[in-house]
């Protein structure tokens, strides 16, 4: 599966996802500016991304923990997600995300 990620400068990066990995891990390992301070524990809100296109509806819904943690993210929009809480899977091929401002 591929993830199309837009960085804070507007540049697009096409990165290869791995089934079972979190989108945060894929973006971080690809060198995108994802702080992920807590390492994926849904405890810091520093892996905040916007999912674009119709992906907001297509992704599995946010857990209560993710919804709560988004309260600590900056510039939250209806399509905000914490990328550590999205798991790569074949049906997510072509997922488009934009790294949120810090």
């Amino acid at each position: 599966m591929k993830i199309i990620a837009t960085d804070r400068e507007g540049a697009e990066h096409i990165v290869e996802g791995r089934d079972g990995w979190s989108v945060m891990e894929i973006l971080r390992d690809a060198g995108l500016p994802i702080a992920a301070e807590c390492g994926g524990a849904c405890a810091c809100a520093t892996c905040h991304v916007y999912v674009t296109g119709d992906w907001a509806e297509k992704l599995p819904a946010k857990s209560d923990a993710e919804t709560d943690m988004l309260d600590m993210a900056l510039a939250v929009e209806p399509n905000s997600r914490l990328s550590c809480q999205i798991t790569c899977a074949p049906e997510l091929d072509g997922l488009t995300v934009t790294v949120a401002p810090e």
Partner: protein, 341 residues
């Protein structure tokens, strides 16, 4: 200003800084610790106090808070001194070869050895990505409430949905000229009784609650007179206020350590793997803040680094003494230090 002389100054009271106290203590070295937070534990207590950690050797499951509590118990015999709520702000080499570490609270710690165990850096408030916000900071934009009186009679806008946002909405409402809480949703990551109290205040017109986000700040010379709020229904509108207090929790920034003149690689301190010393003799870096070939950011790696660091710290602090390597299981000398013999 207070000036302290000790063996080792440790920056950071996270798990690795705490365990360093233990390893140094076994070698009779005293430590002072500086941390910007108000309690020990660093990331363990700030980010995930309730989350379980499964990879601490010998502790199949332990939470961040429990690990911190256990480390505090373990180092108690060595009575370390903590300087909380202080940021390490300056490092200077003295003529006698020792180091002087200063903090933003003007504490001075003079020691032959400085250990940087600062993890991802200092925890500082998250700054909303609103253009030009820096110009208002300290005058109209505040990230904490230190003296409530400073907010009397103000037209306050608080942003956020956590406990800090709710608590300060409730506490500042009686003294503010007006107070508006703005949050992106009609739900909160806060104690339910605080949420109920806030809704009560809003129902009685004591405060306003807006589901919206802050898009822009307007004013001049750092003095705010209004903000632009926005939400999908009302689009954008102006809201008059003279004080803006965003509460979005903390994030880690390297901070003044970047100016210490150390050899940094992508905000990490390069160290050797025998002593975990930086390229500046006497300055060590252990835990998440260091880098070396094969580095893994694991608590257990930091513990190992602390033990090796302590050996070299001993040689620097006590150049004329021979280091006697002993085990806590068999050495009555060590057991006395631990208060168990």
């Amino acid at each position: 200003m207070s000036r302290i002389e000790t063996d080792v100054a440790i920056i950071g009271a996270g798990p690795i800084g705490l365990f360093a106290v233990f390893e140094l203590g076994l070698l009779d070295l005293k430590a002072h610790l500086v941390d910007i937070l108000d309690r020990p534990g660093g990331q363990c207590t700030e980010l995930y106090p309730e989350k379980p950690i499964y990879d601490i050797p010998g502790l199949p499951i332990v939470t961040g808070q429990e690990l911190t509590d256990k480390l505090m118990e373990q180092i108690k015999p060595f009575s370390p001194t903590f300087h909380f709520n202080q940021m390490a702000s300056g490092l200077e080499k003295l003529d006698d070869g020792r180091w002087k570490l200063t903090t933003d609270a003007e504490t001075e710690i003079v020691a032959p050895v400085v250990v940087i165990a600062a993890g991802g850096g200092s925890f500082v408030p998250k700054r909303p990505p609103i253009a030009g916000i820096e110009a208002y900071e300290g005058k109209s934009v505040h990230y904490a409430v230190r003296k409530m009186e400073a907010f009397r009679g103000k037209n306050i806008l608080i942003a956020g949905g956590g406990d800090s946002a709710l608590d300060w909405t409730i506490n500042l409402a009686p003294i503010a000229a007006s107070l508006t809480l703005v949050h992106h949703r009609d739900g909160f990551r806060a104690a339910q009784h605080s949420v109920n109290q806030m809704r009560e205040l809003a129902a009685h017109g004591k405060i306003n609650f807006e589901i919206a986000s802050v898009k822009a700040l307007h004013g001049e010379n750092g003095l705010l007179n209004s903000v632009t709020l926005s939400n999908p229904e009302k689009k954008e509108w102006q809201h008059a206020c003279d004080t803006f207090i965003p509460f979005f929790g903390l994030t880690m920034k390297l901070g003044p350590i970047a100016e210490f003149g150390l050899n940094l690689t992508e905000n990490l301190i390069a160290v050797d793997t025998a002593k975990f010393q930086s390229t500046t003799p006497g300055i060590f870096a252990i835990g998440d803040i260091n880098t070396y070939p094969g580095k893994l950011k694991l608590i257990l790696s930091g513990f190992h680094e602390a033990a090796l660091m302590a050996q070299e710290a001993f040689h620097i602090c006590k150049p004329n003494e021979k280091l006697r390597f002993q085990y806590t299981t068999s050495s009555s000398n060590l057991q006395k230090k631990l208060g168990v013999a």
